[in-house]
């Protein structure tokens, strides 16, 4: 007879098999990564350019990245897009402070053709005036819409405080869209796209001749010396509020300068972060959503930059719940600093983290992404085995001490808008 009150036995995840992609060096600084073992027809190429927001004015970088397929001497943008459609290919452009990531998705039989088409269009971009004007209008409108959102307002203020007094603290202003010259975009492209390729990652069951096509095409555009990233961040602590009378919710951002995977405290802090705010059963979710009903969702994360990183808590709460929510966030941090987490909660978080890691290692795309996420810091797949080991070993008192070390309320930049 089934007793529904008793949970079925669960089985612990002891080991995960991590597969490393093949590595081919294009020059001393640039490598081509390849995950060939894909059990279906799909494929992807990621092109990483050292062309992030930190390299120039935000608007120039952002326009350049969105106009990479705006036309060449031979083709206009519509012709390029039509050709991409014919190949059934998709692309995606990601822009951060550290770089531009251009991803191409296609069935493997079309991958090389799509790559050559897109790569040549990117490298040969001429930035026609009309395309620039159209994109400026589009971005200005988008900016206006975003500016009406409390989440966007809070995020800007947070960024100003977290990247305080560094090259990363520039905030785009609406007036920036009126001061754009084509020359700035072209110069940026010459400098950081035509000579800025720093990593290529291929997932797909193509053959080595096709891989060679990618390698040779990329060669002349690669960087020739290693990239350096800005390291010395120090957030500006304090409480900052941006008033918006008509809002029915307030956006909250709380955080401080932290670190990336290269830091000794990374594993412990990641586990702590999960406990506090990085899963559905986290302390913040349990308290502020599931107990009080102040919000639809609240979460925390450790965001990494090339040379550093920061911790962030984000939520949107009913305007009258703003102060109570901030108090509860503070209380949750103090609890972690003073009381040891009990064994059952710690065990749950350990199992949860291992399950998540197993999922994150499922399939060739996931495996490549795991590798890219450590390779960015010159680490390798061994990082994950060490993480698993640390998850198994960490004790309650170690959670408390890592919390005490990093989660002091007074060190936080506390931002709200609404």
């Amino acid at each position: 007879m089934l007793d529904r009150n008793i949970a079925p036995a669960t089985h612990k995840i002891q080991k995960i098999h991590f597969v490393k992609p093949q590595e081919l060096w294009i020059n001393e600084s640039v490598k081509l990564l390849w995950m060939q073992d894909v059990p279906n027809e799909t494929s992807r190429i990621d092109l990483y350019f050292d062309a992030g927001l930190r390299k120039d004015r935000n608007v120039i970088v952002s326009l350049c990245s969105s106009l990479l397929l705006s036309g060449t001497k031979q083709k206009n943008s519509t012709q390029i897009y039509d050709q991409i459609d014919q190949l059934g290919a998709y692309f995606d452009i990601g822009l951060s402070h550290e770089g531009i990531l251009f991803s191409i998705f296609a069935l493997k039989d079309n991958l090389i053709e799509a790559f050559c088409l897109i790569f040549d269009s990117i490298q040969g971009a001429t930035f026609p005036d009309k395309e620039i004007a159209e994109k400026v209008t589009e971005k200005r409108e988008r900016f206006k819409i975003n500016s009406a959102k409390v989440g966007f307002t809070a995020q800007r203020k947070f960024q100003e405080k977290i990247f305080f007094n560094t090259p990363y603290d520039e905030l785009t202003q609406i007036s920036d869209f009126d001061t754009i010259s084509k020359k700035e975009i072209v110069d940026f492209h010459d400098k950081w796209i035509k000579k800025g390729l720093y990593k290529i990652a291929v997932v797909g069951n193509i053959d080595s001749k096709e891989l060679e096509t990618i390698r040779s095409r990329c060669q002349s555009t690669c960087i020739t010396s290693p990239i350096t990233y800005f390291k010395d961040f120090c957030n500006s602590p304090g409480v900052f509020h941006v008033e918006k009378k008509s809002a029915v919710q307030s956006a909250i951002r709380v955080g401080k300068t932290m670190f990336n995977k290269t830091h000794d405290d990374f594993f412990d802090f990641s586990i702590l972060n999960t406990i506090l705010g990085d899963y559905f059963g986290s302390r913040l979710m349990k308290n502020i959503r599931e107990d009080k009903g102040y919000t639809y969702g609240i979460g925390s994360a450790l965001a990494e930059t090339g040379g550093s990183g920061y911790f962030i808590i984000g939520t949107e709460v009913g305007t009258k719940h703003r102060e109570p929510s901030l108090n509860e966030i503070k209380k949750e941090m103090e609890l972690l600093n003073t009381l040891s987490i009990d064994q059952s909660e710690l065990k749950l978080v350990k199992n949860y983290l291992l399950g998540q890691l197993l999922k994150a290692a499922d399939g060739p795309y996931a495996m490549m992404d795991l590798f890219l996420s450590v390779d960015a810091y010159s680490l390798d797949m061994e990082f994950y085995n060490r993480y698993i080991e640390r998850i198994h070993q960490i004790q309650s008192d170690e959670i408390k001490s890592i919390s005490k070390k990093h989660l002091q309320w007074d060190s936080m930049s506390i931002v709200s808008a609404g």
Partner: protein, 412 residues
């Protein structure tokens, strides 16, 4: 080809098994044939509120998520106007935990006052976050009742009015559960790395004992055929004037769905689409323009939306948009363009099927449409759509009397 097995338990629960030995994970997906269209007009937003309550503890298990997280798993759910879908993603070796949890909440919920009170508040905050606190957020709340007069699609999943959520009672909750959350109204799909014989036994153990109920019959008010053009203007503090043209089209199971899907890609999906080139690039009337279909189980909508460029009037746009649509009715979509769209659909399909969760949700949804094998048959249906199908679709759909237009005017 997505392989699967299908059978029914004695209590009426439909089961789909999709074994995949290449993954270390498993997904337990449960689709209930209930969405916002099942709601009473005076108590809207209920299907969605109920989805939240399904995480508030079941009859024998007080904390759903906690037990799942202990097993290394995670879960989530979504509600649409047509369905409510729940899933658990777990390491394959702990699949039994997910079966235990999902079956217990199908058996019965804990129905605590605390859970109802908190989730009411959470959903109200969700309402504010998604619909009230951002520009154009309330468009769907306005557009649905404009386009539909009788059919329950006239309200959004979140509900017609916040007060409906505020006033939800425990009696409502229990009645809703009793009516819709029984095995004969559900489709269970297990995907991932498992042994089929063993999983069948476990499914019988956990789900077999749940009492069967009658599959609720649904008599949705039929939407009368639209006979005249409808239009509404609302003033909002928004950065730019925006327009939403909603045309009625056939349901998910009709050929309209496939023609409409391809047509929406052709005219308004991305930079190379017809309306983007014509109205944005050439005439500079809009700063953005998009076309989408709702894909609803009953008669759906084909929506063309966008934002006006500075100093452009709704009339200017309207004139040029109809010119463009009338051309499509005349000459359809170029062969080359149609081929490109079909190629992109094939690529998108291949990428979607990479994911175990996607496969699970799609198998369940196709089973709801009649046959899970639809997942394998659909690509061919898309390939068969030709230029004349698109012209027919355009002629039938893009007429003034079949259209509802919502204008959001910037009053700032």
């Amino acid at each position: 080809m997505v392989e699967f097995q299908r059978y029914k338990l004695k209590n009426g629960l439909t089961v789909l098994l999709h074994p995949d030995k290449t993954t270390p994970m498993a997904v337990v997906n449960t689709l209930y044939d209930v969405g916002a269209r099942a709601e009473n007009e005076l108590k809207t937003g209920f299907a969605h509120l109920f989805e939240h309550l399904m995480f508030g503890g079941s009859v024998n298990i007080s904390e759903f998520d906690k037990e799942l997280q202990k097993a290394g798993g995670e879960s989530n759910a979504f509600t649409s106007n047509d369905i409510t879908n729940y899933y658990e993603i777990v390491p394959a070796q702990n699949i039994e935990t997910a079966l235990w949890l999902e079956s217990d909440r199908m058996l019965s919920l804990a129905f605590t006052e605390k859970s109802l009170e908190v989730q009411r508040n959470v959903v109200i905050e969700e309402f504010k976050q998604r619909y009230l606190n951002q520009p154009y957020g309330d468009v769907w709340l306005e557009l649905r009742p404009l386009a539909y007069e009788k059919h329950p699609y006239k309200w959004a999943t979140i509900g017609k009015d916040i007060s409906h959520i505020e006033n939800a009672t425990m009696i409502d909750v229990k009645a809703f559960f009793k009516k819709y959350y029984n095995p004969s109204n559900a489709i269970l799909c297990i995907s991932g790395n498992f042994d089929s014989a063993m999983i069948r036994e476990q499914i019988e153990t956990y789900f077999g004992g749940i009492p069967g109920g009658l599959k609720p019959t649904r008599i949705n008010p039929q939407e009368p055929k639209q006979e005249e053009f409808k239009s509404k203007s609302i003033d909002r503090n928004v950065p730019a004037d925006a327009f939403y043209y909603a045309f009625k089209m056939g349901p998910r199971k009709s050929s309209d769905y496939y023609s409409g899907d391809i047509m929406s890609d052709a005219i308004g999906k991305d930079n190379s689409s017809i309306l983007n080139i014509r109205l944005k690039k050439e005439l500079e009337l809009v700063t953005e323009i998009n076309a989408v279909i709702t894909g609803s189980l009953d008669d759906g909508l084909f929506i063309i939306s966008g934002k006006l460029a500075k100093a452009v009037s709704f009339e200017d746009l309207d004139k040029q948009l109809w010119l463009a649509l009338n051309e499509i009715k005349q000459s359809g979509v170029e062969a080359e363009k149609l081929k490109g769209i079909k190629n992109k659909i094939s690529t998108a399909k291949a990428f979607q099927e990479q994911g175990l969760l996607n496969r699970s949700i799609n198998l369940s949804f196709f089973e709801l449409l009649d046959d899970a094998n639809g997942i394998n048959e659909e690509p061919l249906i898309y390939q068969k759509i030709d230029a004349s199908d698109l012209i027919l679709f355009a002629i039938k759909t893009f007429t003034k009397t079949n259209c509802s237009l919502l204008k959001v005017c910037n009053n700032a």
